[in-house]
Symmetry: C2
Subunit: 287 residues, 2 copies
């Protein structure tokens, strides 16, 4: 059965989901809500949405997907709650899950199913929306203990129709893990890029930069406002990850200063083994 | 005029240079020296070298390229010096330049021209050797003040024949800059991978890892022994870079703990601007 879908925030993520749900036949009608008239106009011209709508109109859809920045989610839920049709299912696409899950719980929204697609692209906006963005990607769902099973089933079926693989997790555990797998690495890349910025004119040192550095710094090209909001929403877990990292980097620094090069090598061996596991490679016995 | 070339260390880098010099016609004969009979056998079978040779035989070539790990360079220069033909030109491919440059100076080797190709690949060994590895890549040359101009011209012509773009720099300045553009990022990636290794079984958190993390950690797959040697050779500059980085990351941590999210955003804005410059992109006015 095809559904009426509303996408609140028709940027890259929301626009890509709209394209995927239309292509798969999950959606028969797609409404778009956005504070930016330009985004709505691009989304309509590209056929991502059928119409621009108010939040009140969007609240009458079968599924309402909140694809706004993380910082906007809690107030949006509060605004949406009194407008919702009784059967409406709501989900989001934010990178931090505990705060929005807690807001929904405090509002008694059992048909809100938090989700986090592990996908994205460097550039924002509906211009870059792509129906295959979620194809083969993981989407983490963090349903509350008392969630409505029908709502969960609908959100699962929506993401599956977009080609995603689903993983369920506890919201707090999700936030702890992404602090290490995503939020900390972004902070590290931002800091490394900023430090390079202090090494004089970029033209002076750019010949010394190779493809390794370019790959390493790719995530430092991410949107500063989005990452400010993520830091705010996941402050505690991220502070913990940053502290752990600082301690480990301190150990590297001590080994370096002490000339304990074998200790450094042992660190690098563990790091490379992890990296190979991450890439699904076998671990060879060398070194 | 085609030259007799000797490559000491027929791994990925040495093997790739051999392939490039043969393809370009710079080399008419290529000798290979290696402590590993297996590498020599692979290099010969792949046609990278014409023959395996002793260091004494290699020392009679027109150009001798030292493509060994950084840690082996200084003793190798000492061993090579008394064997060299008077006209022989020597160069290397190491990632750290001041120590080898100083060793060569102390030995009075004016025909040694230190070089550092900003190129590489994740996997080691002559199996991965590729004639186009240096095509369009930068090679940094750090000739001593009293270098032999003919030797420099020959090394320049060798690298140009492999497709490289040449940049000259002071050896110490080179080491300071690569501490920031390469050595520090490698340490940061190693430490991040090692920290992930402590987050329980990889299967538990791997669904939470996206392509951003994979790119960020690519350089953590580098060879631990090679990086131990680089840390050893560039200890002072790298310790300085690590200290600067620790201070900046500490500032991020303080802003995070203090809830100063606008301060974080300002850091991220500077980082993203640098990243865009690195990629040769224009800086747009957003955020």
């Amino acid at each position: 059965m095809a559904h009426k879908v509303a996408i609140v925030g028709v940027g890259l993520m929301g626009g890509s989901l709209a394209a995927a749900l239309r292509a798969s036949g999950f959606a028969r009608e797609i409404l778009g809500v956005d504070t930016s008239p330009r985004s709505l106009s691009v989304a309509r011209r590209r056929g991502l949405i059928d119409d621009a709508a108010t939040l009140a109109a969007a609240a009458r859809a079968d599924v309402i997907v909140l694809a706004t920045p993380v910082g906007a989610l809690a107030p949006l839920l509060g605004e949406l709650k009194p407008l919702l049709a009784k059967t409406a299912v709501v989900t989001d696409m934010g990178s931090v899950k505990a705060p929005v899950a807690e807001t929904a719980e405090s509002l008694g929204m059992r048909r809100f199913i938090p989700s986090h697609p592990i996908a994205g692209a460097e550039h924002a906006g509906p211009e870059g929306a792509d129906a295959v963005l979620f194809q083969g990607r993981v989407v983490i769902l963090t349903p509350a203990a008392d969630h409505d099973p029908q709502a969960l089933a609908l959100v699962e079926s929506m993401w599956r129709s977009a080609g995603a693989r689903l993983v369920c997790a506890d919201a707090r555990r999700h936030d702890e893990l992404v602090a290490y797998t995503s939020h900390l690495p972004h902070l590290l890349a931002f800091a490394c890029a900023e430090l390079l910025d202090r090494q004089g004119r970029v033209g002076d040192w750019i010949p010394f930069a190779g493809s390794g550095l370019r790959d390493f710094l790719r995530i430092a090209g991410s949107d500063p406002v989005m990452w400010r909001d993520i830091c705010q929403a996941n402050r505690q877990a991220l502070a913990g990850a940053l502290k752990d990292y600082g301690a480990l980097l301190g150990a590297y620094g001590e080994a370096l200063a002490a000339g304990d090069d074998e200790e450094l090598r042992a660190h690098f061996v563990r790091a490379r083994a992890l990296r190979r596991q991450l890439n699904g490679e076998d671990i060879h016995g060398d070194n």
